[in-house]
Point group: C2
Chain length 362, copies 2
């Protein structure tokens, strides 16, 4: 492949569109005629204003956000949101509902509890090792919000559709599937996504927040921990993570102008996932780990007959130009993360390799 | 200049060494033979381990840190440290001393007060518009720490030497002069620096913390707001800002291997500042705004006879390939930020331009 690049199946940081990387590279010493690198221009300059405003505008168009929503860029990843959400939205006797679908949900619950907030875990798939997404959940009508993790990168599960909360604002950690499919934003009070899987590099979290949620933010919080600080200053109360926001802007431009929007992106993602799951489930050699109706289109987790074969599979795949196929260290096995930027060709190459490997070792 | 680059006198984000930018550019599609961009490699990979470990090792060597100190990389900039420091270090009746030398100190004080912490402002230069660094300060012997801003980017002041706190651990916001000169770390309990001025791009803050300060951190804080979380996981409890840390690593490599260490860097910085202050103070046309004994070697602030001339000066400088000379919007005037990465040639070009401009307009 070009410049000896590999097909990158990493779970995050993950593959970025090659044309985005090439644009960053080509303009790295002189951004937009500024005579400076994007890493050197002032965040108070017209150059950076254009970048962040375009990133926000493209987010609004792609996700069809109306004026109730603000688009913010906050540092600290999704993990910082685990504490910022309850700090900003729950006061006094307020309570929130959480659905536990694995590691990331568990951490979100833990951070709310550390803060002494009232948390109701209304559903969990822990009974079956988080291999499925719970159904028919009863949410508390007086909950300030209902929190879910839209896609679990480790167990390879994903909400195929979002739950009916009976009007309680939904909050979703969409770190691993934001912009992977069209979104009906009406149910959501807040959406957050660490950028390093589907929309950019590590170092920034996109937060989309509705005005009624912003209205709940107490004045008494430290400035950097309040959503209102970011909303009132277009995420530039202090110096934002300029390079990460710039990369997001280019990824969103690629999504709109090269891919053609989220409907098109969803079609491609469905096709990638379909041929990969078919390769896994068509025989006895490979085995998918997630329940059929809960399988993620982003992180395809699977096992081979034994761990020795898995090691060999991962090593030989890398020799064949396919990297990042090792499962999360907490669960083992194999995982192919096939986010937006992973091309169909990468999945086809992987499927071919899987067939060859099975023939030799099956 | 190469690729039509300008001489960049921005206050931050600011100039980076050209050879660092070139190395990033050259390896941007394939980092270290990984077949991936640095923005695409896993933070749990050997590639990134080498990056972060080298960045820490170089920081230790350059600042001569002993084993009591941990080097952390935290998101949110120095502004996040304004709240993290009091959250982590002050409990119950604990109090801290703060010296107020302008905007950034004022914000640090405000954030500690928002948290309801006991803050003593033991000295301030507000009486003279923050144009000097206070002397002969009496610190409280029972203070947990004494906080200063080592360099004020807006008013162009800098601590020439650090105050005697009578044994109270010093905490310094060194965002704008870290690594600009050798450091006697013995006085310090904690040092922090947003990277985007002297050591990297926006999006990461370096925090150097001594073990007795780490020992004060309460268990009850959210994970992402506790120094102990970062110290116990080599700053990788969650996905760190990989690209920003990588750039820091390259800047520190440049400091050690090209510049030759902090003594050499300090010599160059002193020379740059000397010729620029000489150009400003040698006649009546330009006027330095900071008190002579408090003048910053990093941010040289000055005025011209009137604002109309200042506008013309800034505009004509840009036409001549010198950018970023406008003073901070809160104070006006002119400012030349001459951090580590600003070459002597840039300052010489500016001085020549200043002489020509004075001849035409003086």
């Amino acid at each position: 492949m070009k410049e000896n690049r590999i097909y990158n199946f990493n779970a995050g940081p993950a593959a970025l569109p090659l044309e985005v990387l090439e644009e960053i590279k080509d303009s790295f010493l002189n951004f937009g005629g500024s005579g400076m690198s994007i890493t050197e221009v002032s965040h108070r300059s017209k150059w950076f204003d254009d970048v962040i405003n375009d990133a926000v505008a493209r987010t609004r168009r792609l996700l069809k956000l109306d004026d109730r929503f603000s688009v913010l860029f906050i540092q600290g990843g999704a993990s910082m949101q685990f504490c910022m959400i309850p700090m900003n939205l729950l006061q006094g006797d307020d309570s929130a509902d959480y659905v536990n679908t694995g590691t990331w949900s568990t951490k979100a619950i833990k951070e709310a509890e550390i803060l002494g907030k009232r948390v109701n875990v209304v559903a969990s798939s822990e009974d079956k090792n988080f291999s499925y997404i719970p159904k028919n959940i009863s949410f508390n009508s007086n909950a300030v919000y209902a929190h879910i993790t839209s896609n679990n990168t480790i167990k390879g599960t994903q909400w195929a559709s979002y739950p009916d909360t009976g009007g309680v604002p939904l909050i979703a950690d969409m770190s691993s599937d934001i912009m992977s499919r069209p979104l009906d934003v009406d149910k959501f009070g807040l959406i957050y996504a660490g950028a390093q899987k589907n929309i950019g590099p590590a170092g920034v979290c996109m937060v989309i927040i509705r005005d009624d949620m912003l209205g709940r933010v107490p004045e008494s919080l430290p400035s950097m921990l309040k959503y209102t600080t970011y909303a009132s200053k277009n995420s530039m109360y202090n110096t934002p993570p300029c390079f990460a926001i710039y990369t997001i802007q280019l990824v969103l431009k690629w999504l709109e102008e090269t891919v053609g929007g989220l409907e098109k992106m969803a079609e491609i993602n469905e096709k990638k996932a379909r041929i990969l799951y078919e390769a896994i489930t068509s025989g006895e050699f490979y085995r998918a780990t997630a329940a059929p109706d809960s399988r993620s289109l982003m992180n395809v987790t699977f096992r081979l007959p034994d761990e020795e074969l898995e090691k060999r599979f991962i090593a030989q795949a890398l020799e064949n130009g396919m990297g990042g196929l090792k499962g999360h260290r907490s669960v083992g096995g194999c995982r192919a993360s096939i986010y937006n930027a992973t091309p169909l060709a990468a999945v086809e190459a992987l499927v071919n390799f899987m067939k060859t490997f099975e023939k030799k070792n099956g």
